[in-house]
Symmetry: C2
Subunit: 213 residues, 2 copies
């Protein structure tokens, strides 16, 4: 076989090389983009590290050097989109805030690879202790912060009892998860509104007979 010492610069094979004893940002970008695209295209089922490496023109060791597990790669894909993600609404009404946030979140899940990435992370966490740890300690606290402050604000306005904010948040998160995991995150505005109103009613402090001890 012929060894071309100057590999013909095929437009698609620039043969990205090391740039020295440090990370090559081009490789990182290419890997994240490949993972994102693959996830968007094939979903979790068709996602594999080998295919990501192939598409990125990267070596698998390069991937594993930076993202020690599949879960870490999912989190990175999610985080990359999260910057331009959902604006936390502040309309002065909890029900409106919740409905707005949910609609935006579901759209985010539908229209970017992030929904697939999150589903993949949840699934991966069921099979890997490492992924479960990453989910609970690195991922969830960040995601819950957004919605958490919506509830905190509502408690400040007296819309809900402050003591219930945490529990109501959990209930609402569960609602999101069920719909994501059963592939029912279509934009059903009526459903979203109904759920938001239910949550508000559940939290109304005046309707509680005795204060929740």
């Amino acid at each position: 076989m012929n060894e071309p010492d100057t590999p013909a610069p095929t437009e698609t094979a620039p043969r990205r090389a090391s740039i020295g004893a440090r990370r090559n940002p081009a490789a990182e970008t290419a890997i994240l983009a490949a993972a994102r695209g693959l996830l968007a295209e094939k979903g979790y089922a068709g996602f594999s590290i080998d295919e990501v490496a192939r598409r990125a023109g990267a070596g698998k060791p390069t991937i594993y050097r930076w993202w020690p597990s599949k879960a870490d790669l999912f989190i990175a894909v999610y985080a990359a989109d999260k910057a331009a993600a959902i604006a936390v609404p502040d309309t002065g009404s909890l029900a409106a805030d919740l409905a707005g946030y949910t609609a935006a979140l579901w759209r985010f899940w539908r229209e970017t690879p992030s929904g697939a990435a999150f589903r993949a992370l949840l699934a991966e966490a069921q099979a890997s202790e490492q992924a479960m740890t990453a989910l609970r300690e690195k991922f969830l606290p960040l995601r819950l912060a957004d919605l958490g402050c919506v509830f905190t604000r509502a408690a400040g306005r007296g819309e809900i009892a402050a003591a219930d904010a945490e529990s109501l948040l959990q209930l609402y998160i569960g609602f999101h998860w069920v719909h994501l995991l059963t592939e029912r995150i279509d934009e059903d505005a009526a459903l979203i509104d109904r759920m938001a109103r239910l949550i508000v009613r559940a939290g109304r402090p005046d309707t509680a007979a005795p204060p929740s001890r």
Copy 2:
């Protein structure tokens, strides 16, 4: 041994043979028991068809002949315990019913392989269209029926608005899922009670302005 010409029963190799042109219940039992045990012992992570076959002393084709996919096997494991499963409470109070049901369900998930089986089914459904279909069309309707009638009865008593029963059920299911998928199904009675009371409050018809009826 009942079988006269049974070969010397090596304790680990009875070499279960065909009993003719029909299912061998012994094989079915052995496979389900092996799947159950493996799931209980290793969880979803350590679960494989090969290992089930090994433990059951069965051939893989025998497994695939009856359970065409892993999801079907998970459902079967879950269903095997469901007989002795959770009694649907009927105390006359929705909050008490919910709290009781949840405590029983979580104990069921903790103390049998069913929790692991359900987690496995949810994870599997994220990667396999077939599993997702089985989850939505074969599994969920059955599971939701139990809790559904608790809410229906509460609506009949006037505890909650009938129109909200379905949505409240969804909220409560989400609460269960989040705790199962994040491995937090410890028996926190205070948490369970709080959630049950929130659900009841969310559904109380008198607290709503005057929406329905």
